[in-house]
């Protein structure tokens, strides 16, 4: 039970001072996700913008209640996707999901996940994987809702 591999300093830093926290305008979709087993909750907004080069994630804002892992994960996620092309952001979601479901066997790519690689240790704690995934799932849900509306701002 290697606690320090779970609670990496980077994670605790994000937990103590989360980035991009709070709910902001404008946004095209807002979702509310809960982890039914433990009650962790996140409300999350996505603001996308269509540009000639593709759809860009202009902002992700959120209000999260939950443990250090879920809070830190929201902070890291926002860092990673804001300003990215939507497809790139979704591929980061994919990479993070793969890491989390890898039972500690997947080697994360720092170029893709940056601070997110600190969550590699979480994958060894099955009960915490859902905490780490909560805000990522909310982001994907919200982004796909906007895409389905077919009307990014």
């Amino acid at each position: 039970m290697d606690l320090d591999s779970l609670y990496q300093e980077i994670i605790l830093d994000h937990y103590r001072s989360p980035h991009h926290a709070g709910l902001r305008d404008p946004f095209e979709a807002e979702v509310h996700h809960v982890n039914p087993t433990c009650g962790d909750e996140v409300t999350l907004r996505v603001h996308l913008e269509d540009t000639p080069a593709g759809t860009v994630v202009r902002d992700v804002s959120y209000d999260a209640e939950g443990c250090s892992i879920s809070q830190a994960s929201a902070s890291v996620m926002a860092d990673l996707v804001i300003g990215q092309d939507l497809d790139v952001a979704l591929s980061k979601h994919e990479a993070f999901l793969t890491l989390m479901q890898g039972k500690g066997q997947v080697e994360p790519d720092e170029d893709v996940l940056e601070d997110g690689i600190a969550f590699a240790g979480v994958a060894k704690f099955p009960a915490r994987v859902k905490c780490a995934l909560l805000s990522w799932m909310a982001f994907k849900d919200a982004a796909l809702q906007v895409r389905a509306q077919g009307e990014p701002a």
Binding site: P36, T37, C38, G39, F125, P126, A127, R128
Partner: protein
């Protein structure tokens, strides 16, 4: 004998109860497996190991025991999903038995006046009563397939039965009384043509046939743990995800919610939505071990074994004067359960006489009163085999029937 499991002796050693010596020094001859199957050591051990080393509540408990328990429980779901060839593990719902699984569908599936539900005359009560209650509640109409004299489904009026407006066709894959194996894929095809969903009761099929929910294109399939060498207290409902997602919840309570306020609650995604309260954890783990066990022996091999034994049993019964078998006489058309009458002796008395020689069979209506009525009998005697049944046990049964006839002077 062709088709028998090659390692029958070894398999029998897996089942501790088969060593049991009964009153009068008779070694148990267990021919009541369609009622409930016996349990291999590996299933018992899996449950004991869980209780002695890993016991904890699941999902909600995030300590090590909780993680171990959750992992074992969810691994059982994976095992069941593979066993059924289910497209997704989330489509596997654990219930307390097949009966609850059938009630779950019958209670939640939307029905109203003008709708029709079609069942068959060979159903187990657990696939009759829930639909009687559901149609009565909703004002829908209940109809059923009759049976031929050979104990097969009478499909001659299928066009009248399966008409538009039919919402559900619920039938057993293998009859627990007649042994008949039904053409479920063909009936599913016909049902889907008119937009009905198909509910298959695989309680007797899952123990002895490969059950591939995709190959037969079912919409819901149920079976029960205790008949597949698993424990009591657990059953399975499999359903197509889109159908399960659309159904309202059945039981409300812990674990099936997304969020709860005093005013209003919302539901978790499947499978949790249908698993309110603490599930049968140890039982799911036991079921997982059971399915691993029978899968390891192989469902095709078990099926061949059952057909060989059943063929031998039918031959044996044919030598006993006064016996009338209910259901198909061709072993290849049936599962390993044979119900019969013996002229002049009531089934209870037959069962009693056999029991005095250590032979366990079932007597009565086997929860299939309408099928009995169809054949003009009130009760029958049923001998049912499984992967541990030997030809010698069938010989003992046939001897026992001759003894019975002598005893009652018929």
């Amino acid at each position: 004998m062709n088709g028998l499991l090659p390692d029958l002796d070894v398999i029998r050693k897996d089942f501790p109860i088969l060593e049991r010596v009964l009153d009068g020094g008779h070694r148990l001859v267990y021919l009541d497996s369609a009622n409930t199957s016996q349990k291999p050591q590996v299933v018992i051990d899996a449950m004991v190991d869980h209780l002695e080393r890993h016991n904890a509540n699941i999902s909600r408990a995030m300590h090590q025991l909780g993680a171990e328990s959750t992992e074992a429980f969810e691994a059982a779901r994976d095992t069941v999903a593979r066993f059924l060839n289910a497209p997704s593990r989330d489509e596997v719902i654990f219930t307390k038995n097949a009966t609850e699984a059938l009630n779950l569908v019958a209670r939640t599936f939307p029905l109203g006046p003008g709708d029709r539900v079609v069942i068959t005359e060979m159903e187990h009560h657990s696939n009759i009563v829930p639909w009687q209650l559901a149609t009565e509640r909703s004002g829908a109409e209940l109809r059923w397939f009759g049976l031929t004299d050979d104990g097969e489904l009478d499909l001659s009026n299928i066009d009248e039965l399966l008409v538009p407006g039919t919402k559900v066709v619920a039938l057993t894959w293998v009859s627990n009384m007649l042994g008949t194996i039904n053409p479920v894929a063909e009936i599913a095809r016909r049902a889907h043509e008119i937009g009905a969903v198909v509910v298959l009761d695989a309680s007797q099929a899952a123990p002895q046939l490969p059950v591939d929910v995709q190959a037969v294109d079912a919409d819901f399939v149920v079976f029960t743990g205790h008949k597949v060498t698993g424990p009591t207290g657990i059953g399975v409902l499999w359903g197509k995800a889109e159908l399960l997602n659309a159904l309202p919840p059945f039981l409300g309570g812990g674990e099936m919610i997304a969020t709860v306020t005093m005013e209003k609650s919302t539901w978790a995604p499947i499978p949790s939505k249908f698993e309110a309260g603490t599930p049968p954890i140890t039982e799911a783990i036991g079921l997982g071990a059971a399915i691993e066990y029978i899968s390891h022996v192989g469902l095709d091999a078990i099926h061949a074994h059952e057909q060989a034994i059943t063929g031998y049993l039918l031959e044996g019964l044919a030598t006993v004067g006064g016996v009338r078998v209910l259901g198909p006489l061709d072993a290849s058309k049936r599962g390993g359960a044979v119900a019969f009458e013996l002229a002049g002796v009531h089934p209870h008395d037959i069962a009693q006489l056999l029991d005095s020689r250590g032979i366990a069979v079932r007597a009565g209506h086997h929860c299939a009163k309408p099928a009995h009525k169809r054949f003009g009998v009130q009760a029958s005697t049923r001998a049912s085999s499984y992967l541990y049944t030997t030809p010698a046990e069938i010989d003992a049964l046939i001897d026992g029937l001759e003894y019975t006839k002598n005893y009652f002077k018929v």
